[in-house]
Symmetry: C2
């Protein structure tokens, strides 16, 4: 008898029919004799609707605004409803099932409302409950702070709940059911040559998540890696009695045939800001990036280049499009303090990343990338790299062209479709 | 500086505009220097929508069904959302405010999910919080059981939350804001002669609530009487800077000019079941009413009369219309065990009650009632009485006629409208 965590996202629980479908996946595992925890998201659209209501009631500004505490109380109701509904559906099928809210487990988090981090989930009482044959339906995305307020973990937080629970109860596996049947070598909407990956390493998945692949939340992959949780991504739209293989996310050593490059990941919701003629004095860059970090804006791909003005530099960097307006406003207000002449912003950029643990031992991955893009006349605006990833920023018009060319160049196209 | 509990029902918090309106009532009390607890219901329609969703997911049958536990987890989210929204609105106006869920106070209840009773609410931490100037927004209708599951108090439960809180923190008053500006001598939709009552005794209010006046939940009035909580009913549709007097519910002694009859209360959602030729053996009636009580169906106005069959009796009784179908089903299944020949059901009945503490010392109230109805040719089907109430069951077609005649006969018509 194994302990299994199953997580179902918003589209998998979009309405009662979809929730009944989830119950079919769950009962299969239970009927096989496993102890099962199910982590559920809010029904799709619910979280957005609740956030919109909260925003209209009281827009929050400052990072540690008391308003975020109330946002969490409001928004966490989405998962609460789904957890109760799935418990009811399973009860009606004759199974013992109960819902668990974040504060009931408890999922202890810090107090950073809206983006809290899980500190600890105790193994009990959950472990005993599921080993007694009761199915535990856990409301994902939410926790409780030291002073008993409801916290939420940020977008995609239910993945993190699932992995943290899997670690807490020493689960044999953690299956993330979503609306795609696994992790792909690239976005299948861009090229039909995209292939589902059978196995991918934690490190690669982490890079994919952090550059914008939506399939898993970054934090959940970090946790899985840290606690060696065996993760699997698979589709709740497959038949419940014959689900697909999905993609297993595991240790690099478990992957026999490691590709040099595993995936080409495009991110379209990028935006770029360039500050021209920033006075070239020590501390200027720190000022800029502290300002943005304090506002919880993550920046990436920072490039500093000489300005035409002597004693000044141009600094450009990227962030997600959602943060652009706030970043522009902050930087405009602080123009004098920072000391720059002009701010340019650009929505029409895309970040294309190639990712693979094989890069560690193989040279030439970067040069292939630059050559392929150059041959197609695609200008590289910014570059950032890690040990197993190279990202370039390009004009978003060239996204599909670049992705298809790189996907082929690194040998990721489907084997049987060369003709 | 007084401690004040203010409760706002579903229509008072129906949308964000109405919630902003509530904030205006709240800030007036706070600006006057009072310590304020606000109890909120779900936005109107929300509870029904959540119940419908839960019913569709897993209809619950037996009284102690595990499903009711999940109903409560689902349905309680309505109040949770409202509490967060009102806290946000008040924060945005510059006030310190926070939401409190049932499990955070905690509102300790028994485990009768869907109709739990409050066992205890501790004075702290709530008392200190409000005395520090923070406005407490409490999600009404909900509590938490000994084993940390969310419970709900049944329809209108937010009134009970408000009164229980008022008792717990020794509030100076408990103001129930609703969509009417007080308690009326009868339903103003039936006669324009209906008058708002300035003061009414707990006992009378209790009878009015229990015979179907919707303005306050019975349990909340019981609690107010037991803990001597000064209750007031007033309208959230009045201007926030000049609310009306409303109706004060208080001890009988505080009411100087006590009427003999204070109110004529019609209840239209009544239904009647008659069991014909029930074998007249000891225990038959007990069997019938135990069966219904176990299914949580409240019966009223029981009449037993001789049957044409020797050795048998006819038994008729009333219940709310909502319970009729379930009652019929239960009694039909148990027909053999109970031993009756025919079941008759009747939707077209109305219960008309006259209520007044003055009845204790004045004879003739009942005879006036029967005479007035007889004069208008209205047949009385069943009768039930208490020390301060007489209820009669009549054909629902005669409701308005009966109410208007009785309202006039007991001198309740407006003073200046005799002509």
């Amino acid at each position: 008898m194994a302990r299994i965590v199953m997580k179902f996202g918003g589209t998998s629980v979009a309405d009662l029919d979809r929730i009944r479908n989830v119950a079919r996946f769950v009962r299969r595992e239970v009927d096989d004799g496993h102890s099962v925890i199910v982590v559920v998201s809010a029904m799709s659209g619910q979280t957005n609707a609740l956030v919109a209501l909260a925003e209209e009631a009281g827009p929050a500004a400052a990072a540690l605004d008391a308003r975020y505490v109330e946002y969490d109380a409001i928004v966490s109701t989405g998962e609460q409803v789904t957890s109760g509904l799935l418990a009811l559906v399973l009860q009606n099928l004759g199974y013992r099932a109960r819902s668990w809210q974040g504060w009931q487990l408890p999922t202890e988090t810090d107090q950073r409302h809206g983006r809290a981090r899980i500190l600890r989930i105790p193994e009990e009482p959950l472990g005993s409950a599921i080993d007694s044959g009761e199915i535990a339906i856990v409301a994902g995305f939410q926790g409780v702070s030291e002073n008993s307020r409801i916290t939420t973990l940020g977008r995609g937080g239910s993945d993190t709940t699932a992995v943290a629970l899997a670690a807490a109860i020493h689960a044999d596996r953690c299956d993330i059911y979503t609306d795609v049947d696994g992790v792909y070598t690239t976005d299948p909407r861009i090229t039909k040559q995209a292939r589902r990956i059978d196995r991918i390493s934690y490190e690669e998945m982490l890079e994919m998540a952090s550059v914008g692949a939506k399939v898993l939340q970054t934090r959940s992959v970090e946790l899985a890696m840290a606690y060696n949780v065996r993760l699997r991504v698979l589709s709740s739209f497959d038949p419940p009695d014959a689900p697909g293989q999905g993609t297993i996310i595991c240790d690099e050593e478990e992957i026999v045939e490691q590709q040099i490059v595993s995936a080409v990941t495009p991110a379209l919701d990028e935006a770029k800001i360039s500050l021209l003629a920033v006075r070239d004095e020590p501390g200027r860059a720190a000022k800029i990036f502290t300002l943005l970090a304090d506002a919880n804006i993550n920046v990436d791909m920072i490039v500093q280049s000489p300005s035409r003005d002597p004693g000044a530099a141009n600094i450009s960097f990227t962030m997600t499009e959602a943060d652009l307006d706030r970043a522009v406003e902050l930087l405009t207000v602080q123009k004098e303090a920072i000391g720059y002449s002009t701010l340019q912003k650009d929505h029409n950029v895309a970040k294309i990343s190639v990712i693979g643990v094989g890069m560690k031992s193989h040279a030439g991955v970067a040069s292939t990338m630059f050559q392929i893009l150059a041959e197609r006349g695609i200008n590289i605006q910014n570059i950032s790299t890690s040990e197993i990833k190279i990202s370039v920023l390009i004009d978003s018009e060239y996204t599909e062209l670049a992705v298809r060319a790189l996907h082929q160049a690194y040998g990721l196209d489907k084997a049987n479709s060369a003709a």
